[in-house]
């Protein structure tokens, strides 16, 4: 039982990280019908930015909670800016072009970001200090919980709840949903679509940045090509939950994390990835729009 609970915690932690990253995919897709393949690399980028901010401005000084919050905020700010820039340069010029062009542009942007990381920070592995957050652990029965794990679980739950409220209860949220349904009609209703898309990129990139920073803090080793690993998993999570659907991305992320932990724990790590894709295929056969995706008539 202890082992099962521990695997549950392991799965939920990584699942929360997938969910944070998956939100970026799903929001951009929801509004623009575009798979932003550069999102995973933006996540990797944010881990590097966070590390740089830490080592440049805080060094070995006391890692108070206040400092950590500043690092998170600054990183989210920088990455949100890069996300907006990405949209301006790589996606806006192609908004009326065939969808394939935008996808190719996204793949290109992914390579550009990845190589930029390599040129800026070098090809060697960069390593997060192990003392950024307290190394406290709690033992509950046979289950071990670390401070970082609890922070990841709580903070990502808060962020997801906030995002849900933002999308469903605020005026901007309503405008985002309207844009997602029909861009042209939204324009006629006086919604500034460009601004909405900018907000989407700011929110998605910031969430990705927080996910990326947590990945850095939790796993420590950063490689310039790590975005691919998390990007792919988050993308699968978004599809499982129903791409374009925000609660779906959260659910998909958590499910994928749990599923992965259980397969690796009880069957074999060798098969974890294979089973992930089998799960994806089964879900797509049973519910082509994902678990929470709505059935909409395809207009194309």
């Amino acid at each position: 039982m202890d082992i099962f609970l521990q695997q549950l915690i392991n799965g939920l932690t990584i699942g929360s990280l997938y969910a944070l990253v998956a939100l970026g995919y799903t929001m951009v897709y929801g509004v623009m019908k575009l798979i932003n393949f550069a999102h995973g690399d933006l996540v990797a980028f944010s881990a590097y930015v966070g590390l740089t901010i830490f080592s440049q401005f805080f060094g070995a000084s006391a890692n108070s909670l206040f400092n950590v919050i500043i690092i998170f905020l600054l990183t989210a700010l920088v990455v949100a800016f890069v996300g907006v820039l990405l949209e301006r340069l790589a996606y806006r010029p192609l908004r009326t072009a065939p969808r394939l062009s935008a996808v190719v542009s996204a793949l290109g942007a992914s390579l550009v970001i990845q190589n930029a990381i390599m040129l800026i920070w070098g090809p060697n592995m960069k390593i997060f200090p192990s003392d950024l957050l307290p190394n406290t652990t709690w033992q509950l029965g046979g289950v071990v919980l670390t401070f970082t794990q609890i922070l990841i679980l709580i903070l990502s739950a808060i962020l997801m709840a906030a995002l849900y409220v933002f999308i469903n209860k605020t005026k901007i949220g309503t405008a985002i949903r309207a844009t997602a349904i029909d861009q042209d009609a939204a324009k006629l209703m006086g919604i500034n679509v460009n601004r909405i898309i900018m907000i989407i990129f700011i929110v998605g990139s910031s969430l990705g940045a927080i996910g990326g920073l947590f990945i850095g803090i939790y796993y420590r080793g950063l490689t310039f090509d790590m975005g691919w690993l998390y990007g792919l998993n988050a993308f699968i999570a978004a599809i499982i939950g129903g791409i374009g659907n925000i609660p779906g991305a959260m659910l998909g992320g958590l499910l994928l994390g749990l599923f992965n932990a259980m397969i690796s724990g009880y069957i074999s790590t060798e098969w974890a990835e294979t089973f992930t894709f089998i799960l994806l295929i089964i879900i797509l056969i049973l519910r082509p729009t994902g678990i929470l995706g709505e059935k909409t008539a395809e207009k194309v």
């Binding site: 392991n10 003392d131 080793g221």
Partner: protein, 375 residues
Amino acid sequence: MRKITKFASSVALGAIIASSSILADTVKVGVQAPITGKYANEGQSIDNFVRLLVDEKNAQGGLLGKKIEVVTCDDEAKAQKAAVCAKKLVNEGVFAVIGSYTSGATEAAQTTYYRSKVLQTSDGTSDSLIEKKYWTFFRNSFPNSAQSDFTAEYFVNVKKYQRIVVLSDYSSYSEGLGDATEASVKKLGGNVIFRGKIKSGTQNFTATLTKIKAMNPDVIYYSGYYTDGGLLRAQQLQLGINADFVGGDSNDNPDFYKLAGDSAKGTILINFPTPEILPYKEAKKYLKAYKDTFKIDPPSIWPVTNADGLRAIMHAVEQTKSFDTKKIADYVRTLKDFPGITGPFTIREDGERIGAEFVVYEMNNDGTKKVVSTK
């Protein structure tokens, strides 16, 4: 008739190409190593060391009067890239290639070098590298089987571990070393309670470790690379698994400490004597030169064994007074106690380096370590 002229002209062309590369006043040596990617600091150091030795040789007038030119190809420690590198280096006309760092990348390139009669020497420790019996290949480090025998001896007879877990990743080196260690432990009557594999680079090993926790092991032995080993160690202690952690040779890298953080303390490593404690005259000379030139020590022993590989080749060229790779290879295979930086360098007929020496280290968390056993 046309066929014959075509044949003759191609022979003539071949002869011209062959002779031009010999008559030219430079010879080319290839470096195939991971210059970027996870193992970049190892690959860059191999490249640095080769350039250091080549600069020294060129300053002394070159090899048989020819200047040596180094051509580097980045294989990113990936098999596909390694195969491309092999083709590229062969096309560049190198007569010998140093590298690569990983067994997988070395193996993927082996056949191309063999077909093109280009010498290759690597620190790859996978036993399978020698099994193809290519005369072009010789190893500059010691094989997995030598290390696994040493490890098993330490586990069973020195530490008397009762419950041993063996973990590896899926690379040919790591899997080979893990399998060999499991076999050696069993041969000595030891008890391997779990033989598992993790996927390198996935960073999250908690699932496997949680499974291991339930088995209550005395020791977790990891035969993969430092990039995963450091994280494994950190996550092991985080999960409250109080078993000893023993890493195979490729965990011996400064990045291991950084990844493991405070958890590095008490980790045990089994490896060659590390560069800084090598007692040999050549070691003192070349490691000082390396530090003076690059302002940093090599990250591990592997760039140094590769340097020995190059020194053996250069020595063989000078002794045979020839760039004929067959002659060089034959000569290298007769080397006995050639004074290497990493100790006496003896190559067996099948290209295997023999006379392995291993050391057991215990790590402190500040990156220093102490020798705890040599047997």
